[in-house]
């Protein structure tokens, strides 16, 4: 038991954080430069200089480029047509063509965003270099756009993922261990021996649940320390506040575990049900994608999804340093939830011989 307790978080944090990344840093680019001018070469080096793109291939035929995309050899194609430079300086306007493999819609959207950022940067640069004499006698209005990314200026995706993985860690420990523990006793028949003792139902259940509650909180502390050491995630807010919320959240998780154990007779059935609930609720909780992007009905379903509350709160406290007055609604919701689920589970649990 003890090795599992410490090995699981390490493995999860190290593998999940590295594998579960939507950080696009290696977008493979196929360049078809039919112009081969000074400007086109400069434009290409603007892309290769960006941390997001890797120049995978270059050629002169669009047919070849497209078939490379068909074979998954490239993520995007940048096509600079003949006379690109000439058009740019003679007509003040030149077209280029960008083809993005959009099977992964999310990745395609980001690719497009990064490409247009590189392009507009490049555009500004050549304007500065060569455009000054083109504004003679014309009054042009400019709006300077400045931007800042707060709480995560380097856009480090790990800062976003580590708190999410801590939520999975804590819930998995709570849910699996509680449900399995009781059903194992059912399977082995020892639950009957406990049931015939004079111990009261609430005493029995408290005795069963408290250890897991404590273990899960220790896991959270351990995982948090690992995240801090391995990935330098920020801890802006109060750790005490985080643990109080986790304590309440765990009441809900343990309650669900208890409920599942009353509905199953074998460990296999427990595993199946836990697997089903975990996958559904974790994916819906907003672990990878923002809640606002979800459709209306999903947001309503999330009102009943305990993971969604914890996912939100842990990120707010750790990354933004939110205090109690910013998260009191979540505190209230999770407390009510805990009371309802626990009472339901205790009521469903039959202490019969």
């Amino acid at each position: 038991m003890l090795p599992i307790m410490f090995v699981v978080p390490v493995v999860q944090l190290i593998i999940l954080v590295h594998a579960a990344t939507m950080e696009m840093k290696h977008i493979e680019l196929y360049v078809v430069d039919n112009d081969l001018s000074e400007t086109s070469v400069k434009l290409i080096s603007a892309f290769s200089g960006s941390p997001f793109f890797v120049l995978k291939n270059a050629g002169f035929s669009m047919e070849e480029a497209k078939s490379a995309m068909l074979e998954n050899e490239t993520d995007a194609i940048l096509h600079i047509p003949v006379n690109f430079e000439k058009m740019l300086y003679s007509r003040n306007r030149a077209d280029i063509q960008i083809l993005i493999d959009a099977i992964n819609g999310m990745k395609a959207g980001l690719t497009n965003a990064y490409m247009s950022a590189v392009l507009s940067g490049f555009n500004k640069e050549i304007l500065k270099e060569k455009g000054s004499n083109r504004f003679i006698n014309v009054h042009i209005k400019k709006i300077q756009i400045d931007y800042a990314y707060w709480y995560n200026p380097q856009l480090n995706f790990k800062f976003y993922m580590v708190p999410g993985i801590l939520v999975i860690l804590v819930s998995m420990i709570g849910l699996f261990l509680t449900a399995l523990n009781i059903v194992r006793e059912k399977e082995a028949g020892t639950i009957e021996q406990i049931n015939v003792t004079p111990i009261l139902k609430y005493q029995l259940l408290t005795g069963k649940l408290v250890p897991f509650w404590i273990i899960a909180l220790i896991e959270l502390g351990f995982g948090l320390a690992l995240g801090k050491i391995l990935f330098h995630i920020p801890v802006e807010g109060s750790v005490l506040l985080l643990f109080s919320f986790a304590g309440l959240f765990l009441l809900v998780v343990l309650g669900i575990g208890l409920l599942i154990s009353t509905m199953a007779n074998t460990q296999q059935q427990v595993m199946f049900m836990v697997f089903f609930f975990m996958i559904t609720f974790i994916l819906m909780s907003g672990i990878f994608t923002p809640e606002e992007s979800m459709p209306f009905w999903a947001q309503k379903v999330n009102l009943l999804n305990p993971f969604a509350y914890f996912m939100r709160v842990i990120r707010m406290i750790l990354l933004k340093g939110s205090g109690f007055k910013e998260v009191y609604k979540e505190f209230a919701a999770i407390s009510v939830y805990g009371i309802i689920i626990l009472s339901l589970a205790v009521w469903r649990y039959r202490k019969v011989a």
């Binding site: 493979e28 003040n92 306007r93 030149a94 980001l110 400019k142 995706f157 199946f272 459709p295």
Partner: protein, 368 residues
């Protein structure tokens, strides 16, 4: 043969009568397709913004209107001082604050330049970069409008085409992956558990001394799962087609043939696992750690493999669903023919033969 049919029937009943197994068999694929198709999206919709307008003149009003009428943004509140920015970010609802400098219109008129500042909540880094990008595009559009009389010099105009999935639907990404995952789950995990159950309860010995040959026992165990997996595969393709408009651009027969090949691979893996494990618990853990997690994480199902550290990329080469996902995406979405996927197909075929040989060797050793 009569015995065999009876045995298969019995196995079917075992599966069908437990609602928890059915939940996983048929509930999970449907739920996953719906959740992935509808819920896991990174689109910019209804992003809540706050505006700090130090100028409140006609130009800032126009820009504000343009941003809010784009359909991507919702004005959550107007704030009056920059000290409030921190406070509203901490309540967690606002994703971006747009700040106009004082005397915006006047400066724009007089000096031809004015400043706008965007501050994004990057605790979700991907959304933050998309949100900033969209806002910039809208403001750039406005600049173009007010400068109509001026021809912008040296403009590079990109024409962007989203290939294979012009509407950027997330279902295009997730349907093939879900199919691989469900087939793995049903064929490999469930088969291994159901064989090991007989071992654990000691009923395997009873079966072995029955008139059924060992080969028949294994086939009998496996047949119901072949049928169920195939039903699942077809259900997923149909759901994708009718609910999300996911096309099957290539040959449907090729697609089904490749699915059957992959089901065979998963079953041979399941049998192999069952020869290694003594209890259902062990079979389950082996299945989860060697099959499910790699299928979810390392197959390119959700997370692009090329973003991972090199070590994980190497490991992904031995994860069979990786090849299956490429095959389905190619057939369904890119409409490629067999010539483009023969490499992946041979890898799967090779792996299948390897697993079958291994389990036969292992099984024989056990009988002797």
């Amino acid at each position: 043969m009569k015995y065999f049919i009876g045995f298969v029937k019995k196995e079917f009943l075992h599966i069908i009568r437990d609602f928890r197994t059915l939940l996983l068999l048929f509930g999970l694929p449907v739920i996953m397709i719906l959740v992935f198709g509808y819920v896991i999206r990174n689109e910019i919709v209804d992003v809540k913004v706050a505006i700090l307008d130090n100028s409140k003149d006609e130009v800032t009003m126009e820009i504000t209107n343009k941003i809010l009428s784009s359909g991507f943004f919702i004005l959550k509140e107007n704030i009056n001082k920059s000290a409030d920015i921190e406070k509203i970010f901490k309540t967690g609802k606002i994703k971006e604050v747009i700040i106009f400098e004082p005397g915006f219109a006047r400066k724009l008129e007089k000096y031809g330049s004015a400043d706008v500042q965007l501050i994004a909540d990057a605790s979700d880094p991907n959304s933050a970069s998309l949100v900033v990008n969209y806002t910039q595009a809208i403001i750039a559009d406005y600049i173009k409008e007010i400068n109509v009389q001026v021809k912008q010099p040296l403009q590079i105009i990109p024409e962007v085409r989203m290939m294979y999935n012009p509407e950027l639907k997330s279902a295009f990404m997730f349907v093939p992956g879900t199919m691989a995952m469900i087939l793995m789950l049903v064929s490999a995990m469930m088969t291994s558990i159901s064989i090991v159950r007989e071992k654990e309860f000691g009923t395997m010995e009873t079966l072995l001394v029955s008139p059924l040959k060992p080969l028949h026992i294994i086939l009998g165990k496996v047949t119901p799962y072949v049928l169920l997996s195939f039903v699942n595969a077809v259900t997923i393709i149909l759901l994708g087609y009718f609910v999300f408009g996911l096309p099957v651009r290539g040959s449907i027969f090729l697609l089904l043939a490749e699915s059957i090949l992959f089901i065979t691979l998963a079953l041979s893996l399941g049998i192999l696992i069952s020869t290694f494990s003594r209890s259902q618990q062990v079979a389950m853990f082996i299945s989860i750690f060697t099959l499910m997690l790699p299928t979810i994480l390392l197959s390119g199902f959700i997370f692009p493999i090329e973003n991972m550290p090199v070590i994980l990329q190497w490991i992904s080469y031995i994860v069979p669903p990786r090849y299956f996902i490429i095959i389905i995406r190619n057939i369904m979405l890119k409409g490629t023919d067999f010539m483009h996927i023969w490499v992946e197909t041979s890898v799967i075929l090779g792996m299948t033969l390897l697993f079958i040989t291994l389990s036969v060797v292992k099984f024989k050793a056990r009988l002797e």
